[in-house]
Subunit: 360 residues, 2 copies
C-alpha cells in the first residue's frame, strides 16, 4: 500500500513497518501532548518517560542485568573506537582482534591512547573467517579485549564468545545487536551504532558494566567522551538525540511484540539459510565465507565475472531489490538482512537470483 521496496542496504537500513507507521501517526502530536517528539524539551516529563522507557526496554529485551548501565550517545561506533581506550585503558594496553574494516579502524584508533596489541587477525585470508579461541594471543594483564561481533563488510560473525578470563571483553555489535539472544554478562562493554538493527542513524547505544565506569580520566578526554559523566546524567548531560531514542523505543516494543530476541534469531537463521542454501547450490554465485563464520545479517556473494555482477546490481535495483552492491573493499554483492527485513524480502531476492542465473 505504500509502494515500499526491499532495501538490502548495510546501514542505515530498513526499519520495521509498524515502527514507521507509529512514528507517522505520532508525528505532529505525540499522544495528545500537542507536540512532535522532535519538538519536546529533553527535560520535560513527556520526554523523560520516553527515554526512561527506552532504557528499561533495552534491559528487558536484551536481558541486561542491573549492574550494567545503558547509555544513549552520539558519534557512532567511530567515536567509540576512541572512547573505549580513553575510558578503559588504565595500564595502557589492550588486545584487539582484527576481523575486518571496522575492527581494524578501532585497533588503529586505540593506538593513539596506549599499546594496542594485535591478538589475532584473519587478514591474510581476506577476513573470510573468525579466528578460533586457540588462535587468540591474549595478554592476561591487558585492560580489555576488543572484538567486532559481526563484520558488516566481510559478512562474518562470531559464533562463540571468546574466553578472556578476568579481562573485560568489549564488543562492537553495530550490525548484530538484538539479532539473537546475547549473554551480556560475558561482556564488559557492548556498543552499537543504531542505524542497522535498532533505530535511525545518529544514536549509539553503549552497555557498560558499572564497575568499569571511571571518573579519573586523562585530562585531554572531552567531557562528552566520559562514560562516567554520561552515566551520572542518564545520557542527558546535554541534549541527547531525542528522535532516534524515541525510534529505538518503538523498535524495542516491536521486538517484544514479535517474541523477543529468541524469535528474531529463529527468523534470522531461517532468512540467512534460505540465501546461503541457494548460494551453496548456485553455479553462478559464490559466498566466500567459511561456513562456521557466516553472518546472519550480511550475506556477501559474487559471480566470477564482474560484468555479471554489475548487471545483477542494475537489474535487481530495477526489480525493487535495492542496495545489493557490495562494499568497494570486497566487490560483488551483499544482502544485508537485518531484523527488519521480512522473510518475504529474502524469498523475493532468491527468486530473482534464480531467474537471473537461468537467463545469464
Amino acid at each position: 500500500m505504500y509502494n515500499r521496496i526491499y532495501n538490502f542496504a548495510a546501514g542505515p537500513s530498513m526499519l520495521p513497518l509498524p515502527v514507521l507507521e507509529q512514528a507517522k501517526e505520532d508525528l505532529l502530536n505525540y499522544k495528545g501532548s500537542g507536540m512532535s517528539v522532535m519538538e519536546m524539551s529533553h527535560r520535560s516529563k513527556v520526554y523523560a518517560a520516553i527515554i526512561s522507557e527506552a532504557e528499561s526496554l533495552m534491559h528487558e529485551v536484551m536481558g541486561i542485568p542491573d549492574d550494567y548501565k545503558v547509555l544513549f550517545l552520539q558519534g557512532g561506533a567511530s567515536l567509540q573506537f576512541a572512547m573505549v581506550p580513553m575510558n578503559l585503558m588504565k595500564t595502557g594496553k589492550a588486545d584487539y582482534v582484527v576481523t575486518g574494516n571496522f575492527s581494524g579502524k578501532a585497533y588503529k584508533e586505540a593506538a593513539k591512547y596506549g599499546t594496542a596489541n594485535l591478538a589475532a587477525t584473519t587478514k591474510e585470508e581476506n577476513f573470510t573467517r573468525i579466528p578460533r579461541q586457540d588462535e587468540l594471543k591474549l595478554d592476561s594483564s591487558a585492560d580489555y579485549v576488543h572484538i567486532c561481533y559481526n563484520n558488516t563488510i566481510f559478512g562474518t560473525k562470531w559464533y562463540y564468545t571468546p574466553e578472556t578470563g578476568s579481562v573485560p571483553l568489549v564488543a562492537d555489535m553495530s550490525s548484530c545487536i538484538l539479532s539473537e539472544p546475547t549473554d551480556v554478562t560475558k561482556f564488559g562493554l557492548i556498543y552499537a551504532g543504531a542505524q542497522k538493527n535498532l533505530a535511525p542513524a545518529g544514536l549509539t547505544v553503549v552497555i557498560i558494566r558499572k564497575d568499569l565506569i571511571r571518573e579519573d580520566l586523562p585530562a585531554f578526554v572531552p567531557s562528552m567522551c566520559s562514560y562516567a559523566l554520561m552515566a551520572k546524567n542518564d545520557s542527558m548531560y546535554n541534549t541527547p538525540p531525542c528522535w532516534p531514542i524515541y525510534m529505538c523505543k518503538l523498535g524495542l516494543e516491536w521486538i517484544r511484540s514479535v517474541g523477543g530476541t529468541e524469535a528474531l534469531q529463529a527468523r534470522n537463521i531461517k532468512k540467512a539459510k534460505l540465501l546461503y542454501d541457494y548460494l551453496d547450490a548456485s553455479k553462478l554465485f559464490k559466498n566466500p565465507v567459511s561456513p562456521e563464520s557466516r553472518s546472519l545479517m550480511n550475506v556477501t556473494f559474487r559471480a566470477e565475472d564482474d560484468e555479471i555482477n554489475a548487471r545483477f546490481v542494475q537489474e535487481s535495483t530495477a526489480a525493487g531489490l535495492s542496495n545489493l552492491k557490495g562494499h568497494r573493499l570486497v566487490g560483488g554483492m551483499r544482502a544485508s538482512i537485518y531484523n527488519a527485513m521480512p522473510y518475504e524480502g529474502v524469498e523475493a531476492l532468491v527468486s530473482f537470483m534464480e531467474k537471473f542465473e537461468k537467463n545469464v
Copy 2:
C-alpha cells in the same frame, strides 16, 4: 486541526508546521524511493542529494561564502566546547568571553587543552548584559576569541560583533542561528546545536573558514573530533545523523519560503517587542536584562513572589502555553520564541499574562 500547543521550550523546541507536515508526508516513502529517509544508506544517490542540498541551502540562506565549509556533526555544542580548542589551539592560548552558563562551560573545557584567558565576564552582574568592546581584554596573539552569541538561560544577545583584529572569532550560535542575517565573514568558526532554530536534536552544524582547518592535530584527538577529517569526507567519514540533516534541509527550505533571514529578523523583532513592551509596562513581571542586550529568542521574566511564579507556570501550561518555567539557575519564567514560534503564540502569551496580572 492537530490540536497543537504553543511550546516555549528553550530547546528542543517548536519546528515550523509545514516542515513537520512534509516530514509526515514523506515518512514511509520519500519521493517514490520506496523508503523512509530514516532507512536510506547514507552512501545512496537519493540521500547524497539530501545532504548536499542541505549544505547548499546553508550557504544560500545564511550567506556563507565559498571559503567556508559547512559540517554536519554530532555531539551538540558541548562536544564543540572541546573540538574548538583541540582543532584551533596552535600556540596554546585562547580568549573566552563568559556571558552565561554555556560560555562558562566552553571556557572550562578549553582549559583542558591550553590556556583559556577570561577576556571579560558579566558574572558579577548576574549575566544581565553583554560586555562592551572596550571591556574585552583581548590578546592579539591568541589562537581565537570565543563568544556565545545568544545566551539561552540568561536571555541576552550580542548586538555587535566584537572586533578581534586578525584573531579568528569563534561563536556558539546554538540559540540564534538563522534568526537574523549574519555577516559570516566576521567569524572564523560558527557552531550551533540544531535543536533550537534549525532541526531536531542530534545534529550540530559547524561553519569553518577553510584556512583554519588543520590536519596536524595532537595525537590524542579522536578521529571523530577532527574538522579536517570531517571536511575531507563532506561530513560522511561515518554515518551522519541522516534524519536531522533531512529535517534541517526542510527547515532551510521553509526559511527561504518565508523570505529568508531578513524576514525572520523582522518577525523575531516584532515578536520580542510585543513581549518586552508588555513586560516594561507590567507591575507584576520584570525582565532583568539591560535593554541593549535583550535576546530576541529567549525572554526571561518573573514576579517578585515565587509562589506567583509557580502559579503562573502551572496555569499557563493548563492554557496550552507550555514550558514557560525558567532555568533553575535563574528561576522565574522564560519564553523561548525561536524562528518557528508564530506571532500568534506570543500574542496568546501576552494576552494570558495580562489576564493573569489582572486577577492575581
